[in-house]
Symmetry: C2
Subunit: 281 residues, 2 copies
């Protein structure tokens, strides 16, 4: 909150050359090497800054926030069209422009992943249960649990998964076993945290490295832009990695170091109010 107040009192201050350079350097470093999916970046923005019921952002403010990433206004219009078509967002005319907001469906989707994305804590679960399917009904149940959330079930193979906490009451479709996990072999670590995820996470961890603390002169639009970039990159990593303790991590797994850097940055870039984004220019 202290930082937020400092920022709030500074955002209208003239930007120093150094702060502007820092901002541009970081934006460039954080741009997704896999290319930008604009609709996905907008989802990251809305999930972080406009998730609550009634929250809305104008085309003009959204454009101001994400233009520094190198996204053209036309690409934003196309992405918003796609999000509307897919039921994620809706739009309304307001004055000479439009405002955009998550639909109940879009908000539910966003809420469902928010705890994972904004989870600062490394997994420290020690009690697990193993679930083994041996019938079509059991496999279907396991698929449903896995689809619900990767926190509910981490699949080890087609017939087997592990889930945190003690075993539930007997499930007739699954063989459920209370389990304590001491060691995880390397082949399973690599299966759960595959090389492509490892590389993506290491690249993001590298990109986050060595910026130092954000200058206090950053304005709400710049903070929103940086938060969007960070949440977006982190979302694409953290939602692909199962929430498992250190014994499951491959040697050199950068995920937990990356998590620390993500939250250090987000903490130093307080979430701006939507009003500030609308009023900034």
């Amino acid at each position: 909150m202290g930082l937020a107040l400092v920022h709030a009192s500074h955002y209208a201050a003239p930007m120093t050359r150094d702060a502007q350079d820092w901002f541009m350097t970081v934006v460039e470093a954080l741009a997704d090497p896999q290319g930008q999916r604009v609709w996905s970046i907008i989802v990251s923005f809305l999930g972080d800054m406009a998730q609550s019921d009634g929250a809305r952002i104008s085309s003009a403010a959204l454009t101001r926030v994400i233009t520094p990433i190198g996204i053209k206004p036309e690409a934003i219009r196309v992405a918003l069209h796609r999000l509307r078509k897919d039921g994620w967002t809706d739009s309304e005319r307001l004055g000479r422009g439009s405002v955009h907001f998550l639909t109940p469906f879009g908000r539910a989707q966003s809420l469902a992943v928010t705890p994972r994305i904004f989870n600062r804590a490394s997994c420290a679960t020690t009690d697990w249960h193993v679930l083994i399917a041996g019938t079509p009904a059991g496999l279907e149940l396991m698929d449903a649990m896995e689809a619900k959330s990767t926190d509910t079930l981490v699949r080890i193979n087609r017939h087997t998964g592990i889930a945190p906490g003690p075993a539930p009451r007997a499930l007739s479709d699954l063989f459920v076993i209370d389990a304590t996990i001491a060691a995880v072999p390397a082949w399973l670590q690599t299966e759960l945290f595959p090389p492509s995820l490892h590389r993506a996470c290491a690249a993001f961890d590298d990109a986050l490295h060595g910026f130092g603390a954000p200058p206090v002169e950053l304005d709400p639009l710049q903070r929103a832009c940086l938060r969007t970039l960070i949440v977006h990159r982190w979302r694409r990593i953290v939602l692909r990695q199962p929430d498992l303790p250190e014994s499951f991590h491959p040697v050199g797994w950068p995920g937990e170091a990356c998590r620390k850097k993500v939250f250090a940055m987000l903490d130093a870039l307080p979430r701006p109010r939507l009003l500030d984004l609308e009023q900034a220019s």
Copy 2:
């Protein structure tokens, strides 16, 4: 031991009509409904009564023991030929006949299954570990453990097995998890104790039912014959069933009731000395 002495003092006594009838009734009831594989019956006999190094049985005595089952001397000669060819037994000339004995290979095979066949105790294991394979090397290791003994590993599916006791030190080829098993779903009970085994066990349990205690007048040959039949039938059941506690048994599983009857009968039919079999007529 008391019973053994009673028998020893009675075996030369004249057989009563009742005892002879009892013997014939039981032999008929215990004859394997699946038909007799003579070589396998001989293996059962040798494993029970001639397993030790140096133990040997003449053709004449072996014929006297198993003829009441309805096996012809010619079938015994063929079976002994097959056992020799397969390396299980060897034979030597002795006087006007032959004596037969387990080879070191045959004895090793027999010894390997003796603890399972003669295990009076129901499984009461509470500590287990789950083993999960995810690589060709892991599957090979699991196959090898299973081949060694079904006590070492009970396969749940191709990639998963459970084994009694605490988890061994980390195995790099397998994911090993300490486990407590509270409940086993019906589909897994049926998979582990399939209907064909269930039927075979129930039929044997029925066959063992209602004979009462063996008459003391039974002679060593008759005791040997009955022991051979019982060990043979039980061997074919107990080696097919995994050694698992009650929670794994299907509803109505007759295995433990059958086990009790098997050992009640074997205890009441003391193992005769080979010398007594050779000297009986």
